[in-house]
Amino acid sequence: MPDPKMKILVVDDFSTMRRIVKTVLKQLGFENIEEAEDGAQAFAKLQNNGFGFMVSDWNMPNMDGLDLLKKVRADAALKDLPILMVTAEAEKDKVITAIQAGVNNYIVKPFTAEVFKEKMDAIFEKLAKK
């Protein structure tokens, strides 16, 4: 399991959703959490800020989650950042696109803290094996 002091970025345009994700993360023992309202803001925040993990929504104004993902993967300094994408079932069919673009895992809304933990563990176990 990753370090509980790891810095995590939560990206969603709906503040209630950010709050829900944050609450889940806190339940899992993570305290060092920052927020961004859309992809553009998130990308700016990621620069030189030592984030260890990012949870991003898909559908957002300005820059959506998929564009953000692509941008992060194309960035030399950020390309290895573990990313969990939050999707609604309406976007399920597009998950393939996200996987091709290099997302580490995805989770469908609404989810419980347990499912979230499973997904997160899966991501970090895989990374540890590499």
Binding site: F14, S15, M17, A36, Q41, N59, P61, K94, T97, P110
Partner: protein, 575 residues
């Protein structure tokens, strides 16, 4: 944890309501522009986000209704079906239902709405649209941007309401921090700070006068000079704090204006009129209380314009006007006031008809009506019981409305003016003070004490003598231009003192909604803008006191609550 949940739910309701408020204007824009990909995507996202969060919180009815609306928006956005009236109606109905469901969540009233009809409407609209669309889109405006890549969903280019977020395209976003630098703070907390700031201002005033006296007496003392200096600095800081807190309660008028496009759309469709609504200055900020009270009067004025002001399309064409009627709403800040102007290019107000109607309804005498200036005649439309519509329609013309407009605006210490030109149009101009914490008052003296009367309901003042007063059924009354008003000495009315009757030298004539009466005072001291301080330990309503203020010369003066006084006075007059 339970508290945390409560907070999240409260946030969810507030944020969802804000999100949904943005939907109505988007639809109106969509109807004007046709299938604009950017607008469609915004609409989709609005319901989509509400649904997502509702799912977490277990509000299944919200999820279901939002899901249906979202499905429609998604299919339209992805070009699978063409936008049509029934689809728009279904989504708007869904949004209405979502608002209702959210309200139940907020009120925790456990009322269950029947969402079946809305879900049904969504299905039917969707089925009809799907049947119609296989090959060529049936709507003329559709197909505009069909050739755009469909996947991934095109990120809208720099949306104009994207707020403080950055402009798209720039690789290096600049003001990335800004958007998150907002906090939701309960109004009660801000009000408490406001109260405390007011409290501090009172202490400051006291310090100021003490420092002033000390300065005069021991002007050469070094410490006293220091004290005087420090106090005058405190003076500045306290004023700044008070102002800053006031601005915290301010919100853009957009919150109210955003509802109008939808209402105008629905109303004009209902009345067979073709209306173009223009809104400007919606970013003007006003006190929260103004936001809450200004909506109804404005809606009423808009209804009135559509119903009575604007001519039917055929009549407009015959008069050489553009077929589409225009209503424009403009807001701006002028000095310490907010001005909201609502104008239409309709038939204007027929003054002769207003005169006739007012006489018929017994609001003025025929002779009086003849003598009145045009401006005064225009003012008659705000009298209770006045309505020029021959037949009461569903929407306006019930004679309850214009006076409500005036009453609500008066509550905000504001005023409303009308100007109209026959055949050209009508403009209503509403003036509201920037903040409700500072009100213009009329300073008077009665029974040996000084009082402040809120200026807005004061119609006029008059010098009077004993013989102007007559006794009607044991009550004193004052005759003003042929009309009888109940008369009370201010000091008697608030049971301050009873030093002989009728020695007041001035009458202040007050109009509050349908209540009119005169207050006798000994002296008129002039107009003054005062800061209201709530008085603790005094039952405001019982004492007919709105609050207190400190005048420039350091005196504590009560501000009279004319509304509560009116109630008491009229109650007595009836008995």
């Amino acid at each position: 944890m339970a508290d945390e949940m409560e907070e999240i739910i409260a946030d969810f309701v507030a944020e969802s309501e804000e999100t949904l408020d943005r939907v109505d204007p988007l639809f109106v824009e969509l109807e004007a522009k046709g299938e604009d990909q950017e607008i469609l995507n915004k609409l989709f996202r609005s319901v989509h986000t509400v649904k997502g969060a509702a799912g977490f919180l277990g509000f299944q009815p919200i999820v279901q209704v939002a899901h249906g609306a979202e499905t429609i928006m998604k299919k339209v956005r992805d070009g699978e079906i063409a936008l049509s009236r029934p689809l728009i109606d279904a989504v708007l109905k869904s949004v209405d239902m979502l608002r209702l469901l959210l309200r139940h969540v907020r009120d925790k009233d456990r009322i269950e709405e029947n969402t079946a009809p809305v879900l049904e409407q969504q299905q039917q609209a969707l089925a009809a649209a799907t049947a119609r669309t296989p090959e060529a889109p049936s709507e003329p405006a559709s197909g505009k941007r069909r050739d755009e890549p469909r996947e991934p969903p095109p990120a809208p280019a720099a949306a104009k309401d994207a707020g403080p977020a950055e402009q798209r395209g720039g690789e290096q976003p600049t003001d990335k921090q800004e958007a998150l630098q907002t906090l939701r703070v309960p109004v009660a907390k801000i009000d408490r700070v406001m109260d405390q700031a007011g409290e501090m201002v009172l202490v400051r005033n006291r310090l100021l006068s003490l420092a002033d006296r000390l300065g005069k007496r021991y002007g050469n003392d070094h410490d006293v000079q220091g004290l005087v200096e420090a106090v005058s600095f405190l003076d500045l800081v306290a004023t700044d704090i008070q102002f800053s807190v006031m601005t915290m309660r301010m919100q853009p008028l957009e919150k109210v204006f955003n509802k109008f496009p939808r209402q105008v759309r629905d109303l004009s469709a209902q009345l067979g009129k073709n209306v173009l609504l223009r809104i400007s200055g919606e970013d003007t900020e006003v006190d929260k209380a103004v936001i809450e009270l200004i909506g109804d009067p404005l809606v009423h004025l808009i209804r009135n314009s559509i119903d009575h002001g604007l001519e039917p399309p055929a009549e407009r064409t015959a008069r050489g006007k553009p077929e589409q009627g225009r209503i424009s709403i403009h807001a701006e800040q002028r000095g310490n006031n907010i001005i909201i102007e609502l104008s239409d290019d309709g038939r204007g107000i027929d003054l002769e008809r207003v005169r006739r109607k007012a006489v018929e309804k017994g609001l003025v005498s025929a002779e009086e009506a003849g003598r009145m200036s045009d401006e005064n005649v225009m003012g008659l439309i705000f009298l209770p019981g006045f309505s020029t519509a021959e037949i009461a329609t569903d929407l306006s013309g019930r004679g309850v409305g214009m006076d409500v407009v005036k009453t609500n605006i008066t509550k905000l210490n504001g005023s409303v003016d009308v100007s109209s030109r026959p055949g050209v149009g009508t403009t209503f101009s509403i003036r509201i003070p920037l903040t409700l914490a500072v009100i213009p008052t009329l300073m008077v003296r009665s029974g040996g004490s000084q009082f402040a009367l809120p200026l807005a309901p004061v119609e006029e003042t008059q010098m009077i003598t004993r013989k102007d007063l007559s006794d009607i059924a044991g009550m004193e009354a004052l005759l003003v231009r042929g009309r009888v008003y109940p008369y009370f000495r201010l000091s008697d009315a608030i049971a301050l003192s009873r030093t002989g009757a009728g020695d007041s030298r001035y009458a202040v004539i007050v109009t509050l909604g349908d209540k009119r009466f005169c207050l006798g005072v000994d002296e008129l001291l002039g107009q003054e803008e005062v800061v209201i301080k709530t008085v603790s330990g005094v039952n405001g309503t019982a004492a007919h006191v709105l609050g207190a203020t400190i005048t420039g010369d350091g005196r504590v003066v009560f501000i009279i609550d004319l509304a509560s006084l009116a109630k008491m006075v009229m109650g007595m007059a009836v008995r």
